[in-house]
Every structure is written in structure tokens, then in C-alpha cells.
């Protein structure tokens, strides 16, 4: 993709962020400021040269960019006053990148008025290095400064949500203690529903069953849930023969300590973000995000800390996996806003983007006040030499040019304006950053990092119950197959939860346990419900939370399971490319393109596709199960297991992590018997298990 216009803009904007103040035009917003930006120490001549430099760039940009894009500020590049900026926040003049005259000719840096296109690659690289250094040195608000911003923020009472009181403060308890409390709480909360349902439905058991699933089912379940693959026959055997009574909890601890735990959940969250990317280029953040999160999850970094890093992210996308939400939306700050709210609070605000929410309390202005936390970030190619290296950074200067950005509305400010629905071309109303839960409003004109840093603290603050509820509800739903709220990312004060007291009990404990994700996994896996036998999703008129609900495996889980069943390192899904969610060319990613799905969608709404069925029926796995090919997985099983019963058992263990039932053994044996070729008969059996619904689901 060659996008010369954008390239040039990137460079212009990079220069712009350095804090240079040019043509200081007071605007209505910045009259009467307390902290005027210090004057640049550069001489007037230098300023003049630099201004010419920018003018030229603007001219070129005008030619290169689509004429449909008009620079909305006639004055051209103009640094808007930044009222809250402390002098320290400004770039020291000595660090000003690409300042004409600063360029030492010996180093080959640009001369005043130089056309950046005429610079050599080496010169551009040097320029870029300087800009990077300068940006890195830009002072950032400290933790305590951010806390004081939040603490001193005024609360606008009518914007505070009355139904969103903070969760109760409780003393932290252990997973087993909390799991027992949940069991009891669920019994209590579900009792009226069971009573009411009893006469009407014949299919629902009238009493809460506390039966536990068998060991094999449990083991495959925790393996798939925690580390994203099914257990090997050896792991299954070891577990079955372990006589200890606490082995179920012990295996969870062991799995949580494995690296695969972080990898599995990093892939999960990658999908949460990437399935909503509004631009294919956002895919470049997929891998960095996954690597970053895998490390954080394995370190067991508290969830609030992770969330804060995503909200206040900056830097090169390739090196900072926490920039993924910005990259997935290409920095379109209204989209970023709705995603931050959806992912971390489970609250979907975006309907209020254009009108007051039809079913929820959110007013249109509340969405836009939330968006006002995010307008000063920018996501763009870092340099013209590498269009695939994107950066998320603060831009406290204005304006930003963009083809039809902001849904075609004019974008010429680093403040957020709520558009006027009756006059879409008008600038609209300037919004002040106000958090819709606590009603806290930031003072005018804070910098990008101050706003987002404050937002990060407000999102994850203990006075906001939705932060804990959202992730607890999500993980509960992933592990038990049914959420308290559904869909899992559409919760909030106007939604009705199943067993809300149980959700709050777990959420308050999660908060008291310092947002410890491993603690949460341990707790949920120890509940009664988690360990129940598997069932299909209930009918709408049946009582919730009666069984652990089967779920279609995510693409990554299926891939891991398939490769391990086939005893190979990778399976290609040839031709099954260019599907949804593509972000790489390795076989796992391609496979995900075919078999993956958006994990935020209600699980029984996820449908399988014909290309998926075709890939497993007729695809490459048939090569691996060719019993006549020496060295194939099937040939080796048949060689090592001359007894047919043993061979059948082995194939069941490999594919479904369990032994065949009596009935299944009989059917299999019959099939082998009526076939003249043993290897052919076993190929059929292997094929049938790989294509079975059970193989594709976690029970």
C-alpha cells in the first residue's frame, strides 16, 4: 500500500508532536490560561525557516492527498495552546527534532526547507532516530500526578450513575472458601426459579444436581480452558490413577504454572480485540499483543494493571502489545472509546454515539464525554520508509488531517466535539472528559497522557463495580459456558443478571484479591457448577446454571488439539486462507482464519461453516491418518497395538481424551471386523472421531 499523502502527514505530525509552538493563535478555549507555553528558544529566523518548511509540506500534501480532504483550519499547522501543560511537559528546545538549523550538516540532516522526499534513506533514518529519542524523553505524568488529577476531579452529581455503587469491601478469601460461598449463593438465588419452573418443564431437573463429571471429562475441560489444548494420553492416565482427593485443584495449580496458560489466554484476548478491528491494518498488533499478554498473564500481573496499560498505551505497535486496541481501530478515537468501554467495563456505549441509548440510561452526551478522554492519541505509520511500523502517540497539537476520518466528519481538533446531528458539517459541541460511572470531570485541556492516565485510573477504580464484574462475568461464562449477563460484553445497570448476588460476591472477592486472574481461575474451577457434567445450552424457559455448557472450541484450541491428536507439529489448511481474523501466514493463523470466531459472541450463536467441515473432512489431516503410509500416526498406532481393542482405545484417547464407551467400542469393533483391510477400517474410525461434534467442543 503506497499512501504518499499519509506518509507525508506522518512526518508532518511527527514534527508537530515535538511541542513546537508556531503561530500561537489564541483560541476561545485557551484564553486566560494559567500556564502559557514557554516560548521556543529558537531564533525568529529559525522559526521563519521552519514555517516555510511546513508550508511546503502543506502544499505537497494538498496535491498528494485527496481533494475531498480539506484542511479544516485555514491557518494550517497551528499549535493549539495546551492550558494544563506544565512547563516540564514541553520539549526542551535542544531536543526539538528536525528543527532546521539544528541539523548539523556533517551528520547529513536536512537543510531548511528541504523536501523530505529528497532526503536520502540514511538521512530520514537519522531524522527518525532523533524524533524517537525526543519523543521518548517527553516528560510523562507520574502515577501520583495522575492520582491527584482523579482525586481532585469534580464530581458532576447528575452525571454520576446512581445504580453503579462500588462493590462492597470484603476481606480476601481463598479460592476454595469463595467457591463454597458461590455454591451456596447459587442454590439460594436459583431456588425460586427452580420452584417456578418445576411444573412447567419436564426436561429440567427440579433440584440442583451436585453430581460431578467424571475425571476424564474434567481433565479435558481444565486443559482446554486453562492451557488451550487437550491432555495427552499419558497425562490422562496419570490423572486417572492419582488417588488423592484434591487432585482436581492440584492439576489446576499445575496448569496455571505452565507457560501455555499465558499463551492460551493471550490468544483469547487477542481475538476479543482483533475480531472488532475496523481496519485490516490493525492486524499488525495481533502478534505483539499476544506476546505481551502471554508474559503478563504468566507473571500473573493483576488485571487492573493490565487494563491501565492498555488504556494509557503508547509507542511502537510492534514493540508495545498494549497498543492493540488503538491499532485495531486505527486510533479513531470514538471507536477506541466504545471498545475500551466494551472490553474493560462490558458496557456498550456506542449506540449512544448518535442518539440517546434506546434501552439504556446512557445519554448521547455521556458517550461523547467518555470520548473526550481519547482525542489526543494518534495511531499512524511511524515513518515514510516503513508503512508497516505503526506508532501510538500523543498529539497535543492540532490539527490532524485524514481522509474521511472520524466517519467523514471534520477533524481538526485535539478536543472532542459532539457532532450536531442536524448539521453534520458543523463542528458540534466541545465535550469535557467525564466518566459516566462516577461523574468525575477532568479540568479543561489536559494532555493526552494525563487524560488517558486518569481514564485508566477511573476505569479500574474501586468505586466502579463494572470493571470487576465485566471480567468476572466473562471468565465465568468462558469456564461454565453461560454468563451471568449475556452477551458477556453487553452488561451494565440496565441489564438484568442471572444470580446477581453471586456475581457480586465473586466480583467483590476478585477485587479484594487484588484482581488476581489466577485466583479467579482457581476459584471458578473449584465451584460445583464448573465441575458438573456437560450439557447443551438450555432452552430459554429452563433454569440457568444447571450444568457446565458445552462450547465450540476456539480456532487455537482446535488447532492444538488436532496437531496433538495427529502427532504432528503443524497442519496446513491449504486454500482456506483469507478468512476472517487473518493476521499472519503461519499455519496456525491460517487455520484460525477458517475456524476462529469472535469470543465475545454468545457461544451458542457461533455457527460452523462449510469450509470448516470441508477442511476436516477432506483436508490435510487425511494424510496423517493414512494407515498404509509408514511413519504416519495411524500406522504407528496399529503397529504398536496389534490388539484391535487397544488400538481403538488409543485413538479415542488421542482424539477425545477418554476411553470409548461400551457401545462405541462395539460399533468400532464391528466396523473393523467387516472391513477386509485393518488399516482402512482404522482410517475410517480416526476420520470419524476427528470429524465428530465432540472433537469440536469442550464439554
Amino acid at each position: 500500500m503506497r499512501r504518499s499523502g499519509i506518509k507525508l502527514l506522518a512526518l508532518v505530525a511527527l514534527l508537530g508532536i515535538s511541542g513546537l509552538t508556531i503561530a500561537q493563535n489564541p483560541t476561545p478555549e485557551n484564553k486566560g490560561l494559567q500556564n502559557p507555553v514557554p516560548k521556543s528558544s529558537a531564533s525568529d529566523a529559525k522559526k521563519q525557516a521552519f514555517r516555510q518548511f511546513l508550508e511546503r509540506q502543506r502544499e505537497m500534501q494538498k496535491q498528494a492527498a485527496a481533494p475531498a480532504t480539506k484542511p479544516a483550519t485555514p491557518g494550517g499547522l497551528r499549535t493549539i495552546e495546551n492550558p494544563a501543560a506544565k512547563p516540564a511537559m514541553e520539549m526542551p528546545a535542544a531536543e526539538m527534532p528536525a528543527m532546521p538549523g539544528k541539523a548539523a550538516p556533517a551528520k547529513g540532516l536536512p537543510i531548511p526547507g528541504a523536501n523530505p522526499r529528497e532526503l536520502t534513506a540514511e538521512q530520514r533514518q537519522q531524522l527518525l532516530e532523533r524524533q524517537r529519542e525526543a519523543y521518548a524523553k517527553m516528560p510523562r505524568p507520574t502515577e501520583s500526578q495522575l492520582q491527584s488529577i482523579v482525586k481532585t476531579a469534580k464530581v458532576v452529581e447528575k452525571k454520576r450513575d446512581q445504580n453503579s455503587e462500588g462493590l462492597p469491601k470484603v476481606a480476601p478469601q481463598s479460592p476454595s472458601e469463595v467457591a463454597r460461598a458461590i455454591d451456596a449463593s447459587l442454590v439460594k438465588e436459583l431456588a425460586p426459579m427452580l420452584k417456578a419452573a418445576a411444573p412447567a418443564t419436564k426436561t429440567t431437573p427440579v433440584s440442583i444436581s451436585s453430581t460431578k463429571c467424571d475425571d476424564a471429562t474434567y481433565l479435558r475441560r481444565v486443559y482446554l480452558d486453562i492451557i488451550g489444548r487437550s491432555p495427552t494420553p499419558e497425562e490422562l492416565t496419570a490423572f486417572s490413577f492419582d488417588p488423592s482427593s484434591d487432585k482436581r485443584a492440584v492439576v489446576v495449580d499445575r496448569l496455571l504454572a505452565q507457560k501455555e496458560y499465558g499463551e492460551n489466554w493471550a490468544r483469547y484476548w487477542r481475538d476479543v480485540v482483533m475480531y472488532r478491528k475496523s481496519d485490516d491494518r490493525g492486524a499488525i498488533a495481533a502478534r505483539p499483543m499476544q506476546q505481551y499478554l502471554a508474559a503478563e498473564f504468566n507473571k500473573n500481573t493483576p488485571w487492573d494493571e493490565i487494563a491501565r496499560k492498555f488504556i494509557a498505551a503508547e509507542g511502537l505497535v510492534a514493540e508495545n502489545g498494549n497498543t492493540a486496541i488503538f491499532m485495531a481501530q486505527m486510533g479513531e478515537h470514538e471507536d477506541v472509546t466504545s471498545e475500551m468501554s466494551r472490553i474493560f467495563l462490558g458496557i456498550q456505549m456506542q449506540c449512544a454515539q448518535c442518539h440517546d441509548h434506546p434501552t439504556d440510561r446512557w445519554k448521547r452526551e455521556q458517550f461523547h464525554e467518555l470520548a473526550a478522554f481519547f482525542p489526543r492519541n494518534s495511531t499512524r505509520p511511524e515513518s515514510q520508509d516503513n508503512q508497516f511500523s505503526y506508532i501510538v502517540m500523543s498529539v497535543n497539537t492540532e490539527p490532524r488531517f485524514r481522509f474521511g476520518g472520524n466517519n467523514g466528519r471534520p477533524r481538526a481538533s485535539n478536543e472532542h466535539y459532539m457532532s450536531d446531528l442536524k448539521d453534520p458539517t458543523a463542528r458540534g459541541t466541545r465535550m469535557e472528559p467525564t466518566f459516566f460511572i462516577s461523574g468525575k470531570q477532568l479540568p479543561s485541556g489536559l494532555t493526552d497522557l494525563e487524560r488517558r492516565g486518569a481514564a485508566a485510573l477511573m476505569f479500574t477504580g474501586e468505586d466502579n463495580p463494572w470493571f470487576a464484574r465485566a471480567v468476572v462475568n466473562r471468565l465465568w461464562s468462558e469456564l461454565c459456558g453461560e454468563g451471568f449477563y449475556e452477551p458477556i460484553d453487553d452488561i451494565g445497570p440496565d441489564r438484568e443478571a442471572t444470580a446477581p448476588k453471586t456475581l457480586d460476591l465473586l466480583s467483590a472477592q476478585f477485587q479484594a484479591n487484588n484482581y488476581d486472574l489466577k485466583w479467579l481461575m482457581r476459584t471458578i474451577t473449584q465451584t460445583d457448577l464448573y465441575q458438573r457434567p456437560s450439557q447443551s445450552r438450555r432452552n430459554p424457559d429452563q433454569v440457568p446454571f444447571q450444568a457446565n455448557v458445552a462450547q465450540r472450541l476456539r480456532g487455537d484450541q482446535l488447532y492444538s488439539q488436532l496437531t496433538s491428536a495427529l502427532g504432528i507439529s503443524e497442519v496446513s489448511s491449504a486454500g482456506a486462507t483469507f478468512g476472517r481474523g487473518l493476521y499472519g501466514r503461519d499455519t496456525r493463523t491460517q487455520f484460525n482464519g477458517v475456524f476462529g470466531y469472535d469470543p465475545s459472541v454468545r457461544r451458542d450463536e457461533v455457527t460452523a461453516s462449510i469450509p470448516q467441515a470441508l477442511a476436516l473432512m477432506n483436508g490435510q489431516s487425511n494424510y496423517a491418518i493414512d494407515g498404509s503410509r509408514r511413519g504416519s500416526v495411524l500406522e504407528s498406532i496399529l503397529r504398536k497395538n496389534p490388539d484391535n481393542n487397544d488400538a481403538i482405545q488409543e485413538i479415542y484417547l488421542r482424539c477425545l481424551s477418554r476411553e470409548p464407551s461400551e457401545n462405541e467400542l462395539q460399533v468400532s469393533l464391528e466396523h473393523v471386523k467387516k472391513n477386509s483391510s485393518r488399516s482402512r477400517a482404522f482410517e475410517d474410525l480416526f476420520w470419524a472421531l476427528l470429524n465428530s461434534a465432540e472433537f469440536h467442543h469442550r464439554r
Binding site: S4, G5, G404, A576, T577, R580, Y597, A613, L614, M617
Partner: protein, 431 residues
């Protein structure tokens, strides 16, 4: 519809504003079916008859990257912006197109050129999404592409072939979106090969035996997890019916005479166009054939000349063929890219992205050919007459396919989304 079904459905709609797919099917099976009020198959069959009569289809020829209007169907001889590209006469007096399209010049009576397409979106991914869905991409809603919409709205549900086939396409901008993976394009990477994984690795008898074994082995699982087992059985049934279907021969270009192969040319785009015609004849309502590399930021003249050489003959062959076979009246052929290219030539001899005014053409599907709609100003920089927006354009396709563009489908978050938001069909094309 039975009362009970209604109750069950409305119970869901009040909370989420939409009915969950499985709940709805369950509702049907447990209440209405038992009561004998209606059957799913009855409904489907009734609908199918109506649709078969309709027989409407669309072939989208997509020039990925954004074809230059000046070097294709809107040359600008005599103006600096026209560059070195010459215009040639066509078989319709008064219509000229670029010299690189001699075959299309001979069939100009079959299509109508729209020279006043206009949009605001100049980035590839966003514009591709816009031209395929009519919407700009957002985080919260994934919109279905026009091909998926067609499959959803007018495909014959009893057909054994996929209803939206894409040949040579790539990218995530054309998916079933909130309609689901079922409406994703069925991708064919190479038109001369059978669809990927569509050939059983065993003979048909053994294949059926395998399916039967699979079925018997699933009975235990089906007892605890009937929904999962059932879904899988239906999907495998559908997939198997498809690949074992005699209709699959529609994908086999070897069934064509060598004369016909030569008429289209044996290039990948030519083979794709021929495949499109075969599929449409077999009842597939939407086929997209993609030609790539139109993003000519440098060496524009030579590159477009080369690209034109790849598409000119196949496109003309397709139009003639459909005409001769009497299929052009109910098959709309649409030619478009995601935007046009700048009137001015950049220093590298290229043209950059330009959505403000660009060119498309439409043939068949009720559209009268041999005309030009709209015009630009003298410099080719702005639409001057009859601007056609992306919404107008998609409305026009819907009009031809008899799809109600104002119909609202429910997105996953329970927000109703119009098939096309705004715009009006360009009715003068049809008269």
C-alpha cells in the same frame, strides 16, 4: 404462527431486542412443529419456489486497488490530466473509452458507464469495506457485504451450491458480517482447480460409510449434547450434499469447449469470468471475480495498460456470452474498484487515491446498455452531473436483484441495520 411460539420469541426479544438463532429454531421445533402449525422446511420450500422463478443474479468484477478512470472508461483526451492515454470510439456513437479496451469498445452497447461515482473514503481497507457493504467500518458492527446480503435475501435455500462465491479475492472487507459465517464468501483461489477440499479422499461409497460410522459413534454424545451433535450433523449433511452433488460440475471449467475457454482467455481473471457465468447458470446468485494490483501509484500508464490487457477480453466475452445465452436480462454485471485515481500525475508517473469522482459500469440485470451516466468537470476532478454515491450504487444493485434495500436485519447487539442506509437506486439506468 402458534401462540406459544410467539410467547417464546417475544420473551427473548424484550431483553436483547433480537431472537437468538438457536432459541428460534428450538421455538419452532418444540412448539410449532409439534402443533403442526408450520414446518421449517415448508417455509423454506415455499420461499424457494418463489425465488427460483426470480432467477436473479449479480456478477461483481472487482478491480482491487482502485482502477484509474482515465486509463479505463473515462479517458480525458485533450486535457493535461488525461495524460498520454488515447480514447477510442466504441460501437456506440459518441461513447469513447480508453485505448486499452478494444474488446470492451466492441460491446459498449451492452453496458452503461457511470462517470460520476463519488465517495469520501480514500484508504484501501475502509473504501473496500464501504463499496462492499455501504457502510464505513466500525468496531461494534461488522456489516455484511453485498454478496452476503444477496445470499441472505434471495438465495435458493434448497440449492446445493454456495450462494456467494468469490474468485481470486482476499481481504476481510467482504464477509457475512453479523449475518454469520454462513454468508461469508466461498473462496476460490484458482478458477481452474476444483474448490479446496471439495474432493473426498475416498470413493463415494466409502465416504458415505464414514459418514454413517460418524453418526453411529456420536449417539452417546448426542444424548448429553443434542444441540451440538445436531448442528454438526446438519452441517456435515449440507457439506456432503454439496461436494457429492452433480451440480458441483459448475466449478469444472473442463466442461467448457476450448472455443469458449479461448473466448475468455486462459488467464486467471478470464477463467474466473467463465466460472462466474457457469455458476450463475447453475443458480448461484452472487459471484465476485477479483482482479488485483490496480493501485498504480507509479508507472501508471504502463501498469494500467498491462492490467487492461488482462481484463478487457474476458469482460467483453462475459457480456457477449451472457447476452447470447439469454442470461443478461436477469444477471447484472458490475465493474468497480474501491475508488478512482487522481487527475494529476505524481512525480513517479503514478496516480494516487481519488474517491471524489470515479467510474464504474453496469451491464444487464435490467440496465439498458450503450449509455453514459453522469459527467465530470473538464479536468476530471469533480462530478458535474448526476453524482452517484456508494449508497445509490448499492441501491441500484438491490433494485436489480429485487432486494428490499430498506429492510432491516438485526445485528448482534440487537440494533437493526438497513441493508442500504440512504441513497436511491439510479432508476434512469433501467429505462
Amino acid at each position: 404462527m402458534s401462540l406459544q411460539l410467539h410467547r417464546c420469541v417475544s420473551a427473548r426479544t424484550t431483553r436483547d431486542g433480537f431472537v437468538s438463532r438457536r432459541d428460534f429454531l428450538r421455538g419452532i421445533s418444540t412448539t410449532a412443529l409439534a402443533a403442526g402449525a408450520l414446518t421449517w422446511t415448508d417455509m423454506m420450500t415455499a420461499k424457494a419456489d418463489e425465488l427460483r422463478k426470480q432467477g436473479r443474479a449479480c456478477i461483481l468484477l472487482y478491480m482491487q486497488g482502485g482502477a484509474s478512470q482515465f486509463e479505463t472508461f473515462s479517458p480525458l483526451p485533450g486535457h493535461a490530466n488525461g495524460g498520454e492515454t488515447k480514447a477510442i470510439d466504441t460501437n456506440v456513437a459518441g461513447i469513447q473509452i480508453a485505448e486499452h479496451f478494444p474488446e470492451m469498445a466492441k460491446t459498449a452497447d451492452l453496458y452503461t458507464i457511470i462517470r460520476s461515482m463519488t465517495s469520501k473514503e480514500g484508504s484501501h481497507p475502509r473504501a473496500s469495506y464501504l463499496l462492499h457493504t455501504g457502510y464505513l467500518p466500525t468496531a461494534s458492527i461488522k456489516h455484511p457485504s453485498i454478496g452476503s446480503i444477496t445470499a441472505h435475501e434471495i438465495a435458493d435455500p434448497t440449492s446445493e451450491l454456495p450462494s456467494y462465491v468469490r474468485v481470486g479475492g482476499r481481504g476481510n472487507f467482504a464477509t457475512g458480517g453479523f449475518l454469520g459465517v454462513k454468508y461469508d464468501p466461498f473462496d476460490i483461489a484458482n478458477a481452474t482447480l476444483p474448490p479446496v477440499n471439495s474432493k473426498p479422499t475416498t470413493d463415494n461409497t466409502r465416504y458415505r460409510e464414514r459418514l454413517d460410522l460418524l453418526d453411529r459413534l456420536q449417539s452417546d454424545f448426542a444424548r448429553t449434547n443434542p444441540a451440538e451433535a445436531n448442528d454438526q450433523k446438519q452441517l456435515y449433511g449440507q457439506a456432503s450434499r454439496m461436494i457429492l452433488s452433480p451440480e458441483m460440475k459448475a466449478f469444472d471449467l473442463n466442461q467448457e469447449s476450448s472455443k469458449s475457454r479461448e473466448a475468455y482467455g486462459r488467464s486467471s481473471f478470464g477463467s474466473g469470468c467463465l466460472l462466474a457465468r457457469r455458476l450463475v447458470e447453475a443458480g448461484v446468485p452472487f459471484v465476485e471475480v477479483v482482479s488485483g494490483n490496480w493501485d498504480t501509484h507509479d508507472d501508471n500508464y504502463n501498469r494500467v495498460k498491462g492490467l487492461a490487457g488482462q481484463v478487457d477480453k474476458p469482460m467483453a466475452a462475459l457480456l457477449r456470452d451472457l447476452k447470447e445465452r439469454g442470461r443478461l436480462d436477469d444477471t447484472m454485471v458490475v465493474w468497480m474498484g474501491e475508488f478512482g485515481r487522481t487527475p494529476t500525475i505524481n512525480p513517479r508517473g503514478g496516480r494516487d487515491h481519488y474517491p471524489r469522482v470515479f467510474t464504474t459500469w453496469i451491464a444487464g440485470g435490467g440496465v439498458k446498455g450503450g449509455r453514459v451516466l453522469g459527467k465530470t468537470d473538464r479536468s476530471g476532478s469533480a462530478p458535474e452531473e448526476r453524482p452517484v454515491t456508494v449508497a445509490d450504487f448499492l441501491q441500484t444493485i438491490c433494485h436489480s436483484l429485487k432486494i428490499d434495500a430498506a429492510k432491516q436485519n438485526m445485528s448482534a447487539i440487537g440494533r437493526p441495520i438497513k441493508i442500504v442506509d440512504g441513497g436511491k437506486p439510479v432508476l434512469e439506468l433501467f429505462s
